[in-house]
């Protein structure tokens, strides 16, 4: 990252009794970036955002904001702000009062508060008439915008999001994802977003950090993580994937351990007797016509076909008993019947070798 680090975690660990929720996390968040932390439930991402926002303190390790140590600074002393999963709007207050809450604390006078609230309503495309409306009278999407406006009124250095979109229906979520992305560009603020939904992460963020069991497994752009995952967990977490255990046979040649892989002349950077996992995304597997060549090929039997709208997915049974997933664009649909014998192939240039310790 070219830009400056605004938030830095150094060996941050959080334990609850004997349970380690966060295990020695080190992470740099760049000024102005949109970072999404993704992980399944229980991976520690909620604990992480609570530490970042100052609602909890780490058991060990340090957190720096613009170079200043803020590890034990409580939330109300930090120049950061969070949008809660529940949104945490004040139900007994109007939209205007909610947005003005941080401004009132800062001691702005009534006119200045109102002016800023009106600006924010406009920025978030809420009608000015909503100023005096009770928040409980607003729809789900409107409440999201009010919560965002309130957080922006605080004018935080970093904005944290704790899965605020998870309770919304699909269409509204998609709309708000786009709006958030646009808002990030407009405000130029650092956004740190937590979610269990990879789709959300890929749609919005500059950079993704994947968490598992209290550790950050990998960080990178969506494309980096999708194409070159560090381990099987990330590979599988990032969508459908075919994984082949392989063993080097010397000179860059290799053999499949679970099923026979007919390798052509192409080679892998794999030492003799070394084991690794060869990953191929379903969209890079081809049905080979007789005589057609690929770096790697294997035989199978067509088991299932799933129409996914713009794409079609095929499940192909392999001799070893495992199944392989192939995906084609609907317009390039493979014409076959269940039970057909098929030859599949892929090129090593489209594969990725996962070496795990």
């Amino acid at each position: 990252m070219a830009s400056q680090t605004v938030l830095r975690l150094e060996g941050v660990t959080k334990r609850f009794g004997s349970f380690t929720a966060l295990d020695s996390i080190t992470l740099d968040i760049a000024d102005g970036e949109f970072l999404t932390i993704v992980g399944p439930s229980g991976s520690g991402k909620t604990t992480m955002i609570r530490l970042l926002a100052g609602m909890d303190a780490p058991s060990s390790g340090e957190i720096y904001l613009s170079g200043n140590r803020i590890t034990h600074l409580p939330a109300n002393k930090r120049p950061t702000c969070m949008v809660f999963q529940s949104l945490a709007l004040f139900p007994h207050r109007t939209v205007g009062q909610n947005i003005e809450f941080p401004l009132k604390i800062r001691g702005l006078d009534r006119a200045a508060r109102r002016a800023r609230a009106m600006e924010l309503l406009q920025l978030l495309r809420l009608p000015a008439g909503y100023y005096g409306k009770g928040v409980m009278q607003c729809s789900g999407g409107e409440r999201q915008r009010v919560a965002l406006a309130r957080a922006l009124a605080f004018d935080p250095e970093i904005l944290f999001f704790d899965e605020p979109l998870s309770a919304l229906d699909y269409r509204l979520r998609k709309t708000l994802e786009k709006e958030l992305r646009a808002l990030h560009r407009q405000t130029g603020k650092t956004f740190v977003y937590i979610t269990h939904s990879l789709e959300e992460a890929m749609a919005m963020s500059d950079r993704i950090a994947i968490m598992r069991s209290g550790r950050i497994v990998q960080t990178g752009t969506a494309a980096e993580i999708y194409n070159t995952p560090k381990d099987r967990f990330v590979a599988e977490f990032m969508g459908e994937v075919n994984l082949f255990p392989v063993e080097g046979t010397g000179g860059g040649h290799f053999k499949g351990l679970a099923e026979p892989l007919q390798a052509g002349t192409a080679t892998l950077a794999l030492d003799a007797a070394a084991r690794a996992t060869l990953m191929v995304r379903p969209e890079f597997v081809r049905f080979l016509a007789p005589g057609e060549m690929a770096d790697c090929s294997l035989e199978g039997e067509l088991h299932n076909e799933f129409a996914l709208g713009s794409r079609v997915q095929y499940e192909v049974g392999l001799p070893g008993g495992r199944a392989l997933t192939v995906e084609k664009l609907a317009e390039a649909r493979f014409d076959g019947n269940y039970g057909d014998h098929v030859t599949l192939g892929f090129d090593l240039a489209h594969s990725h070798l996962i070496r795990e310790a």
Binding site: N76, M82, I105, R150, F154
Partner: protein, 284 residues
């Protein structure tokens, strides 16, 4: 469907309605009727008169009334201050330990209030447990700690503790933790969070608790009788005296009516300000 359900509601409420009508509403109406009878009559077949209310003002009955209301108010405020921190702990912090506190507080209700107050008398009277020990240790002569106004307020505070505590617990647990966190995250101090988030959102519980304690304490007699002796006369005493020794049902009824109207008016005013469905868990 809805009409059948409405009828079922009315039918199932009928036994209670009849019971309440016969033993609650009817006597109240009789009292209200007697309040407007001439003094010292024993049936309602007289011309209405406001004589009793004139007596109320002329003979200084407003003093015991104000005393009752004042002590009830003091006890309510004291209870709120005492119970709020405990209720907060029970709702948000203590976890399973709050069950133990609940049981302990409820257990005190198993013993009749009069017996518990006699315990206070034995503890606080001249030569009783507390003054007696102090006398023995210090060698100074001690008076009893009974028969004054503050001790009655303390007695009321003690007697109505559960009636404040449990509604407060209920009210405070209605305030989502996220709101407190969010307010803090937006820079609010603890005091501001208490004033702007906790207090308004726990208000249904606060109002219910305060109302219960105030209404009960305003009509309470046992505390002033046992702890106050003859030194402190409250409104309930005067009402009882009018009905019994005084043999003046109309005066007693008028005094009762005044107390009912004041306390009832306060109750209606307070309840109109809060969302009772909220605290009963029926908010949609």
């Amino acid at each position: 469907m809805e009409r059948i359900e409405e009828r079922q509601g009315l039918l199932s409420a009928l036994p209670v309605l009849i019971l309440l009508g016969a033993i609650f509403l009817a006597p109240l109406l009789v009292v209200a009727g007697f309040a407007f009878m001439p003094p010292k009559v024993f049936h309602l077949a007289h011309l209405p008169s406001f004589e009793n209310f004139r007596i109320f003002f002329d003979q200084g009955y407003h003093a015991p009334l104000l005393r009752s209301l004042g002590m009830a108010g003091a006890a309510t405020v004291l209870l709120f201050v005492l119970c709020y921190p405990l209720a907060y702990g029970m709702a948000k912090i203590f976890g399973r330990f709050s069950l133990a506190i609940t049981l302990a507080v409820v257990a005190t209700l198993f013993v009749s209030e009069n017996i518990r107050l006699f315990g206070w008398v034995l503890t606080l009277m001249k030569g009783g447990m507390l003054p007696g020990h102090l006398e023995a240790w210090t060698g100074l002569e001690m008076d009893g700690l009974l028969y004054n106004l503050p001790i009655i307020v303390l007695g009321l505070t003690y007697a109505y503790f559960p009636f404040m505590l449990f509604p407060l617990v209920q009210g405070i647990s209605m305030v989502p933790d996220d709101l407190r966190l969010a307010a803090s995250d937006l820079g609010a101090s603890r005091l501001r969070i208490f004033l702007e988030i906790d207090l308004p959102l726990a208000m249904p519980g606060i109002v219910v608790g305060s109302l219960l304690t105030f209404v009960l304490a305003a009509g309470a007699m046992a505390e002033s009788k046992l702890l106050g002796g003859q030194a402190v006369i409250v409104m309930a005493d005067e009402i009882e005296t009018a009905f019994t020794y005084g043999q003046n049902w109309p005066l007693g009824s008028a005094l009762a009516l005044i107390l009912i109207l004041i306390v009832g008016g306060l109750a209606i005013l307070a309840l109109s300000k809060i969302d009772l469905d909220g605290i009963m868990g029926r908010r949609s």
